[in-house]
Structure formats: C-alpha cells, structure tokens
Subunit: 465 residues, 2 copies
C-alpha cells in the first residue's frame, strides 16, 4: 500500500473560532432552530452549538464572527457532479441528448480534457460551489489526482473518483489501468481530512459486467462509495430490457453489485420493483432534477423512494448540462417539480428538502457521522447567509424561506473543516479574477475548435462572435 | 375627468448618462449583441447604442458609468404579480391549493390588507424586483393608489389594477365601487411617465358575467390592458364546463371579452380550440411556471401558444405562492420545465426565453413601443450585470449564459426611465434596513394572529418559535 501523502495538519487543534448572535439551523435529530445562538469551533470540530455562553474570558484568543442579521446552517452536499466540465459551461444547449453528447460534448472533451484544463475547471467549479453554499461534492471524472490537489489547496471537501469505462479515457488507456489508478489514489489520499477517493463506473451501457463487478469489489475492499449513472433515460431503460432482459437496476442486481455503498446517479426510470430493490439493498440515489429537466430525461420518483426509506441527496450533475452548480437553485426546483409531477403540493415539503440537501447528502456519501448537521463532535462545515436581502423577509418558517426564497448568492462566508475558506464573498485560497481570465482564454480556443468542427461536420455553430 | 396628479418631471431632458465599454445585449429586431459597446441616455430616452464614439468632448457634462466586465441588457418585465402580498412570503407553504387559500391566505388577508401594509409590501417587493433585474411589473390587487405612490417614489415602472371581484374587497365594498375607483385611478395617473392604470377582474368563477363585460368595456374605453386569472387549475376548467358549458376561455369568448388588450394570467388548462381563440383574438398570456408548479396546478402549453403566435410573457405571481419575485429564477425554471414537459430539449431555447422576458413581456403589456429592448428612441430601462462571478464563465453563448447560469443577484445597477434607481446594489429611493425591520414587525403580528387562528380552527401552526 502506497504511503499516504497528506495528514490532518490543516487546522491546529488549538484554533478557536466562535460565531455568535446568529440565527442557527442545526439539522440535528431534534430539528433545533435558534433565532439567536452561538457556535464554538475548536480545530476542525464543532465543540458546542446553541444558546451557550461564549463570554470572551471563557475562550481567550478565540476569533469571533458576529452573526447578527445572519443565518448559520450546515454546508450543502452535492452528491453528483463532474467539476472539470465547468470549462464547457454553455458550450452546447437546447439540443437533443444524443446530438448534444455525441456531436458536441464528446468531440470537444476528447481534445480539451487534460491535466491543466481539469485543474482550471475544478478551480472554477469550487469557486462557484463555495459562492453558493456547497461544502462537499461527489465527483466522477478523469485526472482525479489533479482534482484532489485542487480540493486540498482550496479547502474544499470532496469525494472523488475516476470514471471507469470500457473505452480509453483521457488519462487511462484501458479500464484495467483505470482500476489500478483508482486503487493507487485511494491509498495515496487515505489520510486526507477532506478528500475521500471512491470508485465509479460510468454506466451499465458503457461498462462490461466484469468491469462493474470488479469496481464494486474494489469499493467494498476499501469501504468507499461506489458510483454509477443509472436509469437516466427512457432509451437506457428500454435498451437494457432488450439487451439484458432486465431493467437497469435489475441488471445490476443480477450482477450482485447493489449494496449500501452504491450511489445511483439519476435513477429516473425505475419500476416499483426497482425501488423495492434499492430499499432492500440500501442503495442511495443522487437526484439531479435540473439536468433531468433540461435534457428532457424525466422525473425521478423521489417521493416514492423517500417513502421506502431510500437515501436521496441532490446533485447538480456537470455544468455542461445544468448549467450551474448552485444547489439552492436545485432544491428550489426539486421542491416545485415533485409537487407538479405528483399533482400534490404537499410532497417534498421544505423541511424534507433542506434535510436532503445537508444530512441526507452526507448519508448518501457515507459521511453523516462527520458532516451534514451542526452538532458537537462533527466537523465544522457550515455556511453563513446574509439575511439583509429583500427576499429574506419576512420569516415565518425558516425551511420555507430557505427553499422557496433564499438563493445561493446569499451565502457570505463558508467554513470547511473549521477553516474559513470564503469570507464576505472573498475567496481565501482562489485567485478569482485570474481564474475568470484563464477560463475565457481556454474557452476562446475551444470556441475556435468548435467552429472548425461545426464547419467540418456541417453542424450549426452555437456560439457568438 | 379628474386632473392628472403627475407629470413627466422625473428626468430633465438635458440629463446625460453614458455606459461605456460594456457587453451589450440589445434584444432589437437584429438581435444585436456587442462584446464591447456603449449606450447614450438623454433624459429618459436611449439616444444611441452600439459601437459608438462616446468621447468626452462630444458629451460634455455626461455622467459616465464604466461597463468593463459588465453586461447591459433591457430590464425584465414581470407580467403578473400581486406585490402587496410580499408581507405574506412563506406564511403557508406545502399545502393543497384550497386549504392554502381558504384556511390560511384569505383569513389573514381579510385582517391585514390595509393601506399601510399594502405600501410596506409594495416597497419590499420593489426592492426585491430591482435587486433581481425587473424594471416593470404588472399588478392586480387592492389599494392601487397607494401602490402607485410607492411606484412613483421608488422610480419603478408598473401597470397597476384594482382586482374587481363579486365580493367586498378590502378597499371596495362593491364591484361597482371598484369599477368607479378604477376609472378614477386611470384618470388620476394618466400622465405619469412610469405608471399605467389598467383594469382587472379576478377570475370567471369569482366575478359575474356583467362585471367581466363592464370591466372589459372600461379597459377598451381608455385603451388600457384588461387582466384576468384564467384556466389556472383543472378544478376551474372542469367547473366551468359544468357551470357554463364552456371552457374558461370559451366562456370569455361567449361574453365577447377576448381581445388584444386581454392578459390571461396562468392559462394552464387550454384546449387546442382555446389556443386558436387566443391567436385569433390577439389575447396575451402571463405565464407563471413556478407558481403553477408549487401549487401543482399544471404546465401551461407555452410551446403551442408560441407556435400560434400568441404573445407570452413571464410572471412570478405573488410571493405567497412562489415565494420570490426573481424573474431570472422564473425563466431558468421555465426553460427547463417545457423541455421536460414536451419531452423535447430543443423547445424554449435560451434566446426565445430571454426575448419573452424582455420585449415579449413589453408586448403583453402593450408597452413594446416604449420598453423591452435597447434601441434609440426607447425609454432607458436597463440592467447592468456583474460578470465577475464564477458562474458567469466561460461565455460561449450569451443567451444560454443568462438563462441557465446567471442569477438575479448578478444585477448590480438598475436604470429606469433614464434614472439610476439602484447602483452597485444600493437602492437610491428605498431605506433597505428600515424596510426589513418593519416587515418583521408586521410579520410578528400576523404570526401571532396565525397562531390564534390555528388554535381556534384546530389547524397546524406552520410557523416557528
């Protein structure tokens, strides 16, 4: 086993940070909400939270953040995304899925996905996630070592995986190579306080039965999450029935890979039997409502999944199909979408939605012992929202306000693992303007190549100027 | 005819304002978009726009706004809302429509809708709309003279109407009184540069045939818009068939009130014949996708309406059922919703959506000669967006970026009728913090009364602490 690169030296244990006089939403098992409360953070851990005495003499040397007019809550958890794709934001929109993927995304990915661009896209994505209140994300892509280094450097928390697939990946000529790479990464990053390496296969229709089973074994061996895109489109569902005689979920059951570490992204097209299988095997779902709407894939049966006790968290998917990483937007859309789809305005009530976006997402990632709520002993992953906004008034019910009225842009300060990584919307570990300039520079090249490809293939050029 | 209260003295004709070096999206008939351009505003009017020479010596005394790293576009048009209801934001959520309306909203409205609270709610709503890029709204409520005074004082543009109904309204004991009031208001505000008074009846199921016909005549007489809630729910559709033998739209046709000044809010449940009638009569639609989703009312057939050439704009409806007034959110949701609902990711492409939110909304309100695009001779209603945001990069297609990635919170500066009403997110004519304190003060009383009512009626109290 390779030696671990990183140790938990990010935050010294004696570091003391206090947030006082804030509205605090805990998402703990008692659903505590205080209109005025404080939080004491020692090192990377929450020491106490609630109506506690934080007099200066009790905490000498503490750094104090005044929370007046602000709301503190756990950071949001994005359970499914592909952060390096941020450089392709808006590259190809309003197209049928197949044309979008095969004629626009795949050709441009094959030319521009390299270590440098992966780091750039990851930085841009982390900037966007911090700005909109996400403190943990679960990613599937390529060049994961590079992604992990950016996560390490920016103070973010992430679960990262190489997307194993039956073809050559940009950084992996064969799936066997990808598998070895995944194992190396698991070991290399095993002691990092904020990085978890997991295992992913792309989808049942792009990966052999053997690859899926081997990947699952690898995930089991190391006790890490196992990700797959599953039952995303009607086409996938129908072709699975044709090809295997099973639904996509039934096919994975036949391979023996459904289990409590499986995170099934999308899970739009499920039969009642599929839902039952998820419940029995403890499978989790990463629900990406905006991507599913935008690509016209369908609506995941979230109320039915929740009714069976299946763990469901929210994901944004990659920005090439969303086109943003703002989970506040995603939860607002989800709360409305399922009311419409169920013809029942009581489903996915605001409290359920906020729990799904925090502790629920943490459960999906197997991190609920560490994050997802503000409780003593948990890692200090929290966001501070500015309530001095017209849409933040009046407050009748804090969950309703958060889901239906507030926005990612209300997030002012972000603390991850006890460390302030964004303060008053300023990034501590990211050069914002340099990042935007660099993104536009790379985009100019991609745009130029896109124009060439569109001429070459007789396709419409989707870009301007 | 009563004397008009106001004259166009807001902006002196010699006032000169120049925005230079900005990205400019015109929404003109040539779909002009410049990556670097300027706009000259004289008095309340756009004098020139595009790649023009704005050298200082040509415009002595002009105030110059540096548009570097910013995007200028027409302000958004909200074609349907009830701004005073902002004080009820989040009062009752996640409930069936009938319970929401009859057991929560109506009882509390009957006690708290008065001139003072209407002014408060309107101020809070205008603050929220300016912050998220709306420069014109179309409202139906009560105490319209009070609403108009707030619009006048805050620099906003609005089309306002008393909601005529067969019952006693808070400021009108009978519909006849309401009708006289509407006419008085039309005359009183007739010369105001930013206020248009229109005529509204609440809905076919709350207003007699005579009231609907009289209101339509009044609107025709003064050449102002005529608003109605129409075909919002399946219940309304079914009951209309039972009661009148017609669909809601067919019923209005039988009354002879369908016409080019009619703005039919919602229009969710339409038959192909209804859509044909809309097209023939030139009826406009105010489409409120988020409200319709949240209350599980259904999805308006917007692609079919557009295909027939029906004018469609976006509305937020009131915040009691949305719960915000952010049109950027609304258009993002709409673009995704219709792709899902049509099972076709090409419908409501980004350019169509942006046009609907600007010039399209202006057409719905009969104001497209004055607003909705950045063209010489038009009123200067425009918004300046900050592009120094992670989600604003990279830019491949400006329409896609605006619809799928950017947010209301990116709006930094707002100009209405040539006047800067919000600059760098600071309001020129609103006391922001006083507003929030007052909103919470009124909400505390509403909350207290809500608790009493819930005890009295054996209902669940939906609020906290």
């Amino acid at each position: 086993m390779a030696e671990s690169l990183y140790n938990n030296q990010d935050i010294r244990e004696e570091t003391l940070l206090i947030i006082k006089n804030a509205m605090v939403l805990s998402i703990d098992s008692q659903s505590n909400y205080w209109e005025q409360a404080s939080i004491v953070i020692r090192g990377n851990t929450i020491e106490s939270v609630g109506k506690i005495d934080v007099a200066e003499e009790k905490y000498p040397g503490a750094r104090v953040i005044d929370g007046s007019g602000k709301l503190v809550m756990p950071g949001l958890v994005n359970t499914h995304t592909h952060v390096p794709m941020t450089i392709f934001r808006g590259y190809a929109d309003d197209l049928p899925l197949h044309e979008w993927l095969y004629e626009y995304i795949f050709p441009i990915e094959s030319e521009f996905v390299n270590a440098e661009n992966v780091k750039l896209g990851t930085r841009l994505a982390i900037a966007e996630m911090l700005r909109s209140g996400t403190t943990t994300f679960n990613d599937m892509y390529y060049f994961v070592d590079e992604i992990a280094r950016v996560v390490d450097a920016t103070g973010m928390r992430a679960v990262l995986s190489e997307g194993l697939i039956d073809f050559a990946a940009p950084n992996s000529p064969t799936p066997e190579h990808g598998m070895r790479l995944s194992e190396q990464l698991i070991n290399r990053w095993s002691n990092h306080p904020r990085v978890t390496i997991s295992v992913s296969v792309h989808a049942p229709y792009t990966s052999s039965a053997k690859l899926i089973q081997d990947a699952k074994k690898l995930a089991d061996r190391y006790g890490v999450p196992f990700n797959i895109h599953l039952a995303e489109t009607r086409k996938e569902f129908d072709e699975s029935l044709d090809r295997t005689g099973f639904t996509p979920v039934g096919y994975l059951e036949s391979l023996g890979v459904l289990g409590a570490n499986l995170i099934a992204a999308h899970s739009v097209h499920l039969t009642p039997e599929d839902i039952e299988l998820y419940a029995q095997r403890g499978v989790s779902v990463a629900h990406n409502p905006e991507c599913n709407m935008k690509l016209a894939s369908g609506v995941a049966p979230v109320p039915a999944l929740l009714a069976k006790g299946v763990k469901v968290g929210f994901g944004t998917d990659g920005v090439a199909s969303n086109n943003n990483l703002d989970l506040f937007e995603e939860i607002n859309t989800a709360a409305m979408l399922h009311k419409l789809n169920s013809n029942d305005p009581t489903v996915l009530d605001a409290k359920t939605v906020i729990e799904m976006a925090t502790i629920g997402g943490a459960r999906v990632l197997g991190l609920d012992k560490e994050i997802g709520s503000l409780e003593p002993g948990k890692r200090a992953d929290l966001i501070i929202l500015d309530m001095k906004q017209p849409h933040a008034h009046p407050v009748y019910n804090i969950y309703s306000l958060l889901v239906y009225s507030m926005k990612g842009s209300d997030v002012e300060t972000v603390i991850i693992d006890g460390r302030v990584v964004m303060e008053n919307r300023k990034f501590m570990y990211l050069d914002e303007e340099g990042l935007y300039a660099k993104a536009e520079e790379v985009a100019a090249k991609i745009k130029e190549r896109g124009l060439e490809l569109s001429v070459l293939n007789g396709k419409k050029n989707l870009h301007q100027s």
